[in-house]
């Protein structure tokens, strides 16, 4: 293997190995907590993978992705808790419902661009949030759902922190590979073309209407699957997890990660999620320090985002590419 190929594939393999082995590395009294936090990282990473397709590749903005995250969570929670259906049915239903939701949200995107599209998706997110609160017969209202059954597959219950972690990161791995295949092939190229010039894409025979619907749908399904996993890992959901604030954080992760990249947004999901749980990375942190960090969390996010945008507007992916280039790798 040449040096360029080594530099291109080895970092990914090392990172994958690290995440796969984390449950074995994390031992001691904090292990449960560390794994729980990294499980959240995985949930966010899954949402952000979908956003990377939509925003980083196709150039379409969504400020409503927390709604899909919630839609997946509520769909699965309702079916498994109220109707006592198996988890796998909940998961499949979450995929189906969020796919339909994604298609519906694609409708404004066919006519609107840029800020206007952002506003429309923001409206969608708010409508869904109100629905989660008000449709209390189905959603449990402001109190939400509790005692959601754990994910289980063929008799195996994902109960231990390790099992939950592997379930979520297994989904991230599958999602990463699927997204990677999509972006490296014909659909990915048409998404980049759409981002680059709509007229140019149309003149090349790209059906941009169909493409936008497909990208929105795929992106919504990623969020929906993440929502389903979240519900069954935590066992409790309420509307407060699916607000505009969450949507904005997801977009921030996608922007920080950088365009035309999947690994960048996942790295951003890791860093921004961990910023809220600093004690999982630095176990010695005192309770007081942690409280200060959590009080200033929103400011911390803002600071990270502003710094990265100032120093590296192309995000983590751009930084990484610049790094590769500086050691002489031709991209």
């Amino acid at each position: 293997m040449g040096r360029a190929a080594l530099l291109r594939y080895v970092p990914g393999a090392v990172v994958a190995l690290f995440f796969a082995a984390l449950p074995l590395l994390a031992t001691g009294s904090d292990a449960r907590y560390v794994l729980k936090v990294f499980t959240f990282v995985g949930v966010n990473a899954l949402v952000v993978l979908g956003l990377a397709l939509l925003f980083g590749y196709a150039g379409q903005v969504s400020l409503g992705h927390a709604a899909f995250f919630g839609l997946g969570a509520y769909t699965s929670a309702y079916l498994t808790t109220r109707l006592e259906l198996p988890w796998i049915i909940g998961l499949l239903a979450a995929v189906l419902v969020t796919a339909i939701g994604g298609m519906l949200l694609a409708l404004p995107s066919l006519r609107l661009k840029g800020h206007y599209l952002a506003m429309a998706t923001l409206g969608f997110g708010e409508i869904m949030h109100v629905a989660f609160v008000e449709a209390s017969g189905i959603t449990g209202g402001p109190d939400g759902f509790s005692r959601i059954p754990l994910a289980a597959l063929g008799g195996f219950v994902f109960e231990s922190p390790q099992a939950k972690y592997w379930l979520v990161w297994g989904a991230v791995a599958v999602g990463f590979i699927i997204a990677g295949n999509i972006v490296s092939g014909r659909p990915g190229r048409s998404m980049l073309a759409l981002h680059g010039s709509e007229q140019g894409a149309v003149a090349s025979g790209v059906d941009i209407t169909g493409l936008k619907v497909r990208v929105f749908t795929a992106s919504a399904v990623y969020a929906g699957v993440a929502g389903c996993l979240y519900a069954h890992v935590v066992g409790f959901i309420s509307p407060s997890s699916f607000t505009l604030h969450n949507s904005v954080i997801f977009v921030a992760m996608a922007v920080l990660g950088g365009g035309r990249s999947l690994a960048g947004p996942v790295a951003a999901a890791l860093i921004l999620t961990l910023a809220g749980f600093a004690d999982a990375v630095f176990p010695g942190l005192s309770r007081e320090t942690l409280a200060v960090i959590q009080d200033w969390q929103a400011d911390l996010y803002g600071l990270i985002i502003i710094s990265v945008m100032l120093l590296a507007p192309a995000g983590f992916a751009g930084l990484y590419r610049a790094g590769l280039r500086s050691v002489g790798v031709k991209l």
Partner: protein, 257 residues
Amino acid sequence: MSGTLAVRGVTKRFGGLVAVDDVSFDVHEGEIKAVIGPNGAGKTTLFNVLTGFDTPDAGSATYAGQELLGSRPDRVVRRGVARTFQNTRLFEEMTAHENVMVGTHARTSSGFTSAALRLPRAFREERLASEEADRLLRLVGLAERRDTPAADMPHGLRRLLEIARALATSPKLLLLDEPAAGLNATETAGLADVLYRIRDHGVTIVVVEHDMGLVMQVSDEIVVLDRGAKIAEGPPRLIQKDPAVIKAYLGEEDLDD
């Protein structure tokens, strides 16, 4: 006729302005036809209508017997009619090779599912599309710029790249909107060679152009538009002497001199 573009009574109004006024002409298979006229004559609007980027108010345009007008632009491309733009519409952050690869979109088919699952069919299709893109880059003389992002290419080469992208859709009819605009003399001469090469590959060409040297050199027939209407049509040597054309280009006062 099989490979004929038949434009009949095409009219396009913007409010009170008649941008294209009852224009009719034919383009025969294997021909290079130029559409010329003073600024604002309606040439680009005519192209936009023919390629589905604008809807006409009246008229029809059939290619190989199929109506083009009223179709979505991406469907027009699938019928074998491709175009370039007066202001290039390239994918700036993609390389020359990737830009041309997008052009193969119309005749490849692997979608989200087959790409996601890496089906062998999608794989094979990608390889063929990539080879085709390289072939077209060689055809327009851009092989050495294969991996250069479009944004980093000089103006003249960008025009050639857009032509290569249009060719990747495998058109039978190619509509070029001012391909020589902004090119120097050497580049324009090179463009003429590229046009001949494309024509020799069996592609019929309609070209909107202001560079009269190029128009007179390459075109078999010329259509002249003025204020939206066709005022003359014929081979270059006759168009050069046509009083209506001279009047449109030079203005009435000049004729009175």
